[in-house]
Structure formats: C-alpha cells, structure tokens
C-alpha cells in the first residue's frame, strides 16, 4: 500500500480571494507582518501499486486527471510505502 500526500495551490499569477480575506482577517487580529496568504487544497490518498515507480505514475495521473485544473492550479506531492 502506498500513501500519497498532494498539495494543490494556485499558480503564482492567479488571484486567490480566500487567501486575501484570510490575510486581511489576520491583519485585523494584530498579525501585521503578514506579507501574503495563499489557501490551497490537501489530499491524502491510500492506494495499491506494484512498486514505487508505478505508484508515482498512478498518483500523477490521478492528480492531473482530477485533482487540479491545470489552467490555474499547480501541485506538489510526497509519496511513501506503508508498512503492514
């Protein structure tokens, strides 16, 4: 069994309205040194694969098919094999 953690965020140039609102909220609360806030999405996926290389390929396929919209989003991931 493999365990992938996927982090999705907006590409640099894309406006993230929620991030902006959170930033302004935090600033109002007194955290005045904030430069920027970006909100993203986080996924944990457990799945079977034949080996690490196969797991990597499968995970990337899943991410690019559904988890992100390539117009606006980018991602990174980490992947590990789970013990029993």
């Amino acid at each position: 069994m493999y365990f992938g953690r996927v982090y999705v965020s907006y590409k640099k140039s894309v406006l993230d309205p929620q991030g902006e609102v959170i930033k302004s909220g935090l600033t109002h609360m007194g955290f005045e040194k904030i430069e920027s806030v970006k909100q993203g999405k986080y996924f944990e996926i457990k799945f079977a694969a034949t080996d690490m290389e196969n797991a990597k390929q499968e995970l990337v396929k899943m991410i690019e098919a559904l988890l992100i919209n390539a117009n606006t989003e980018t991602y990174r991931y980490d992947l590990k094999e789970l013990g029993d």
Binding site: L66, N71, T72
Partner: protein
C-alpha cells in the same frame, strides 16, 4: 426542436430550464447523467446547480459522467450546446470551452440582477437581441471567468465573447459573462436566462436567447 436537459446529481436549475423550454413549446426531456446517447436531440442544455456538490471544483466531477462523451459527440456533430452557470463550469472543465470559472473576487455567493452587454449579437444564441444592454439574473459563488491572455485575445479576435458584465460582479477577466466555442455551436454563460422569461417574475430579458436558439 428536441432538447435534452442533462440532470447531474446536484443539478438544481434543471426543472427551471425545463419550465422555460416548455414555455417556448420546445419538446424537452430530462436526461440522466448516466445516459450515453444524445443522438435524438437537436440541442443540449446543461443546467445550473451544484453537480456532485461542486466538491473539489465546480464541474470537476460532473465532467466524468457517462453523458459527457455524448455531449462531446453532439459538439462534433455541430449541435447547439448551452451550459448555464454550473453547466458553463462543466463545459470548461470538460474542455468544450476554454478557460475556467473560479471563486468570485469577493468570496461568497451572489444572487442579483446584473446589467450586461450583448457583445456579439450575431451568434446562434444572441441573434434575436435588438438592444445591446440587457439585465439578467446571476447566482453563483464561482463565476469569475479566468483565462490566460492568449486565450482572451483569441476569444476577442474570434468574436466568441457573447455577453460582458457592465458591472463586473465577480471579477471576471475582460468582464466576460458568456462565451461560445470557436465553431459557435457551444455557449457557456454564468447568468441565468431561464430565470428571466416571465413578466410576473420581473424580468423577460432572457427570452431573446431562447428565441435565438429556436430561430433556425
């Protein structure tokens, strides 16, 4: 004309679209997202709502519904395809229209009547509009049209932008409210013409859109 209104789990403007089409005496049928054949129909409507809860991204999961292959075939056959609100979001996710609908610039759902401009009155969907300024209802949380500059330039160049907001309520790039594909047979728009066809509800500016579609 025979029309199909696609019903995804979570669609909630499907019955409104049926009601509107029937008002125009269109032979309209609700078609489940699990169906795979749309060859009987002349026009396909993807209604508003929250297909699959709009979880992950609006329209992202609906585009994997079995019916979407048939929608693509309908496009290849040059049939008219109309995506309203969530339907627009599904069409962009499915790649039938360029760009993407993102969260409104000021987060939160907005329901309002918005002035807009018919920027291209020569499409299959807008040719009956005689005035360039109309008012249509909007109701969405993710209606900010986004595309990169090259895409926007090509939309402009090919006259694919059908409607633009006069008051840009959601921060859409280039004030875009509705576009067609390059061939001109697929329309996606965030405003709800089906909510604007009866005087008793206070707005009839959507009627011309339906008349344009029916006007062969």
């Amino acid at each position: 004309m025979k029309a199909a209104v696609i019903q995804f789990p979570g669609s909630n403007c499907d019955m409104d679209m049926m009601h509107a089409l029937k008002d125009f005496k269109v032979d309209a049928t609700l078609v489940s997202h699990n169906e795979t054949d749309l060859s009987d129909y002349d026009a396909i409507f993807l209604p508003g709502g929250f297909s699959f809860g709009d979880y992950l991204r609006s329209g992202a999961i609906a585009r994997f519904s079995p019916i979407m292959e048939a929608v693509k075939q309908a496009d290849e056959a040059g049939k008219r395809i109309v995506g309203i609100c969530n339907g627009f979001q599904i069409l962009t996710e499915a790649g039938l229209l360029p760009g993407q609908l993102m969260q409104n610039e000021h987060p939160g759902f907005i329901c309002d009547e918005v002035k807009m401009e018919v920027t291209n009155p020569d499409t299959k969907f807008s040719r009956d509009y005689q005035t360039s300024e109309i008012t249509l209802p909007v109701a969405h949380g993710e209606g900010r049209y986004y595309a990169d500059q090259a895409t926007i330039d090509s939309l402009e160049k090919n006259h694919q932008i059908v409607f633009k907001y006069q008051t840009n309520v959601n921060g859409s790039t280039d004030d875009i409210a509705g576009i067609t594909n390059q061939k001109g047979n697929v329309l996606g728009m965030m405003p709800h013409p089906e909510r604007a066809i009866e005087a008793i509800l206070g707005n009839t500016d959507g009627r011309k859109l339906f008349e344009s579609i029916l006007d062969n």
